[in-house]
């Protein structure tokens, strides 16, 4: 047996004592756990919890395992949302498949769990589609052909009420310098068919809300993909006198969509200047980076947007209270110390791990808004947090990785 892994993955060395030379399907080990509401998998996939970390182990041919290992590392290098690959175990015996080891994404949820316990406002299908489409577009912008885009092959994390998708399965994927129209078209076609199949399957199992039409949702995936792709890649002719305004407008729109421009190119043309924008594919968006620079908090894009808004409100409150200007950086630091950290520290021990701290903070802000509306006055964050911990958070299902139970 050989276990190939990319350092640092010190904690993964604990996995070496697993019964690798037995077929994965028949493993018996106290570290094996079950994940409820998993997606559909073609291969034997089992989960192991070792030293507080949850790993997904997939039995697959060595050629495909090595390829997937390489592709997942490539995606990690680009900063595209995907599960973290730990290593690949090979030479497990005559005719035995290899085993690919990835880390289960903390605070992740599956599409089936999203349908069974929807969070935030709006239909879950909208959030799932937006997240999946955004991921597919990021992959396509980087020249990555997924080959099996589906709800089962992604994990999702809540991001200020919306969802963010992470690629889980890359066994049929290919990396190219750039994708052709045909490759993108085909990848979307596959995604439409698979999402349709997955929703029909939920319907057949009485797990899909009655108002969701699988065919309509599948068709919507294609439409949303085309809209987003067009927004991000279209070239436009702009008259020279509108140049500055139109470029700023385009870049602002990109930021709104959670993307950043890597490069802006203006090409002189008889009818004006042709604007071409190359989009950065990495997951960390404009707001996420801005929040990180100000507070050191590493959160998702929409969570960052929400927290930045709260920092802005807090700054206005400070300026009003102190009757003097407060710099952005001072406001951000005081907000962290006086608002965010105390709320996070107050999360009851037994409810920690149900949602990411930034998501809990976002939900407390939502809760505060509803409470304040009912009360006809601002109830404040501390009171909202107390109420949220008492009434809302206990209703949130445990996250799939913490809920993983021993077999």
């Amino acid at each position: 047996m050989r276990f190939v892994f990319s350092p640092p993955a010190g904690e993964a060395t604990g996995l070496l004592t697993l019964p690798w030379t037995e077929p994965l399907e028949g493993w018996k080990d106290e570290r094996l756990v079950e994940i409820r509401q998993r997606g559909i998998s073609r291969h034997v996939v089992r989960f192991v919890s070792d030293n507080g970390v949850l790993y997904a182990l997939k039995s697959i041919s060595e050629r495909l395992a090595r390829r997937e290992y390489r592709l997942l590392r490539f995606l990690a290098g680009l900063g595209i949302p995907a599960v973290e690959v730990v290593g690949v175990a090979v030479d497990l015996g005559p005719d035995a498949d290899a085993i690919l080891v990835t880390k289960f994404l903390p605070f992740a949820t599956t599409y089936r769990a999203v349908f069974s316990s929807p969070r935030g406002g709006g239909p879950p299908t909208d959030k799932l589609l937006d997240a999946l489409v955004e991921l597919l577009v990021r992959l396509h912008l980087s020249g990555f052909f997924w080959g099996d885009c589906s709800l089962s092959n992604a994990l999702f994390r809540y991001d200020a009420g919306t969802l963010e998708a992470y690629l889980v399965d890359a066994e049929t994927s290919e990396q190219h310098p750039e994708l052709t129209f045909g490759q993108r078209h085909y990848d979307v076609e596959l995604a439409v068919e698979r999402v349709y199949g997955e929703l029909l399957d939920l319907q057949a199992g009485n797990l899909l809300p009655a108002d969701v039409d699988p065919l309509e949702v599948a068709g919507e995936l294609q439409r949303r993909y085309e809209r987003l792709w067009d927004e991000l890649t279209r070239e436009e002719i702009i008259p020279p006198d509108e140049q500055r305004f139109r470029i700023a407008e385009r870049l602002h729109r990109l930021n709104e969509l959670g993307f950043d421009a890597e490069e802006v190119e203006l090409i002189a043309a008889p009818e004006g200047n042709r604007l071409r924008v190359r989009t950065r594919v990495a997951e960390s968006g404009h707001h996420s980076r801005e929040l990180f620079l100000r507070t050191g908090l590493d959160v998702s894009e929409n969570q960052a947007r929400r927290l930045l808004n709260d920092i802005a409100s807090f700054r206005a409150y400070l300026e009003q209270k102190d009757r003097r200007p407060v710099s952005e950086i001072v406001a951000a630091n005081r907000w962290l110390a006086e608002v965010y950290d105390p709320v996070v520290a107050a999360i009851p021990e037994d409810l920690r791990g149900r949602l990411a701290p930034a998501e809990i903070f976002h939900e407390i802000l939502e809760h505060r808004w509803y409470m304040s509306e009912r009360a006809g006055r601002d109830v404040g964050t501390a009171a909202a947090a107390r109420s949220y911990f008492e009434r809302v958070l206990p209703q949130v299902p445990e996250s799939l990785d913490t809920a993983a139970g021993s077999e």
Binding site: D97, H185, E193, A204
Partner: protein
């Protein structure tokens, strides 16, 4: 159904790299053609150009006489058969096969008809109302195949569709694909790196190396008459044994034992004015334990003395591995290149070990010399400089 023509189809990337160089081929309506070659040979790129997933840099691709270079994959009406399909656990086999047709907005009667036909073909009619959990591995694969069949495309394109199945299922599905293709008569292009798959499936095989078509022919043609060292080494399992030699005075002089070549071989070689330095190729199955070869047959060949260091008995046959004198390094360059490309670098028969496939009745013993007969009519000769076959 579709006749597909590749007319000098070329794929060149912006940096100038040619993944496929001027590939030409007429694929007849209903034909099963296999693109085979090692990694980097351009076989998948060529398939992707047919599918519309890769742009064609030069040349023309025609389906039923119509140029389709610029058509999208959907407009070409050809189905890429996916490596594996997920089966949905809450849906019945019938629903699992039918749902792609619903996206295509086909009428329910037509959907029912196609599913019924496909199920009959795949012999899963009785399972139509079962859930996937109640199916065997082979039945699940057949349902997945059914999902492709019900689309009724003009052609099937398959890129290593069996590569992630276990060995037993792979053999089952190979037979199933072959039988289906014979019944459906849908033009099929199948890509594989596995020469056994290619030989067992294809009406014809196109062998590619480094983006260049090496040879197109029936499996038997490729086996009997490989046009060059590469095809000779790639087709056949175990691989052909190779050894540098010289032709002089009607004799083959090589590190084993000098031997006369058959008169008709010499005649053909003389007509071609072949060079003196050659590479000799002989397939493992063209050897036999001399003690088991009767007089008349024995006359067709030559006998050498060898000492096998490993004997592998498979019941129906015995593989004898015996060392042969290592040739001079310069003569081995092309051989080593070919061995590396066909993935036989470490395999017996590629360098200083020959392998012979013998009858299970052989009395050969490991470490003991014995007389080995070889059929000199089956010897292959290649130009030592160019690798091209001689005396064909």
């Amino acid at each position: 159904m579709a006749a597909i023509t590749l007319d000098k189809v070329t794929k060149r990337y912006p940096d100038g790299t040619e993944a496929v160089h001027a590939a030409s081929l007429d694929i007849a309506d209903g034909e099963f053609i296999v693109f085979v070659g090692p990694s980097g040979s351009g076989k998948s790129t060529l398939l992707n150009m047919v599918a519309g997933l890769e742009d064609i840099t030069d040349g023309e691709l025609r389906i039923n006489g119509k140029v389709v270079n610029l058509l999208s994959p959907k407009e070409r009406d050809i189905a890429m058969v996916f490596q594996t399909y997920a089966l949905y656990p809450h849906m019945t086999v019938r629903q699992n096969m039918a749902f792609p047709l619903k996206i295509a907005h086909l009428h329910q009667d037509e959907i029912d008809r196609r599913v019924k036909e496909a199920a009959e073909l795949l012999e899963i009619t009785e399972q139509l109302d079962r859930k996937p959990a109640n199916l065997s591995g082979g039945q699940r694969q057949r349902v997945a195949m059914g999902r492709a069949i019900v689309r009724n495309p003009q052609a099937f394109l398959m890129d290593e569709p069996l590569s992630n199945l276990d060995a037993k299922l792979r053999v089952q599905m190979r037979t199933m694909i072959s039988r289906l293709q014979q019944r459906l008569k849908v033009t099929t292009i199948y890509v594989t790196h596995d020469q056994t798959e290619a030989m067992t499936l294809g009406d014809r095989i196109m062998v590619l190396r480094l983006g260049v078509v090496q040879q197109v022919g029936s499996p038997q043609e490729l086996y009997d008459y490989p046009v060059n060292l590469f095809v000779a080494g790639f087709i056949g399992s175990p691989s052909m044994n190779f050894m540098p030699g010289q032709l002089a005075d009607g004799m083959l002089k090589w590190p084993l034992e000098d031997m006369p070549l058959p008169a008709e071989t010499m005649r053909r070689l003389e007509q071609e004015k072949v060079p003196r330095d050659v590479i000799v190729g002989i397939r493992p199955e063209d050897f036999e334990d001399a003690a088991l070869v009767d007089g008349a047959k024995r006359e067709r060949g030559a006998t050498i003395t060898v000492k096998p260091d490993v004997l592998e008995s498979l019941g129906s046959e015995v593989f004898a591995y015996f060392p042969v004198p290592k040739p001079r390094a310069a003569q081995m360059d092309e051989l080593q290149r070919v061995a590396a490309e066909v993935g036989a670098g470490d395999a017996p028969g590629s360098e200083s070990t020959f392998v012979a496939r013998l009858s299970p009745a052989t009395t050969a013993q490991e470490g003991a010399t014995f007389s080995l007969w070889l059929d000199t009519h089956k010897i292959h000769l290649f130009d030592a400089q160019t690798g091209k076959a001689l005396g064909r």
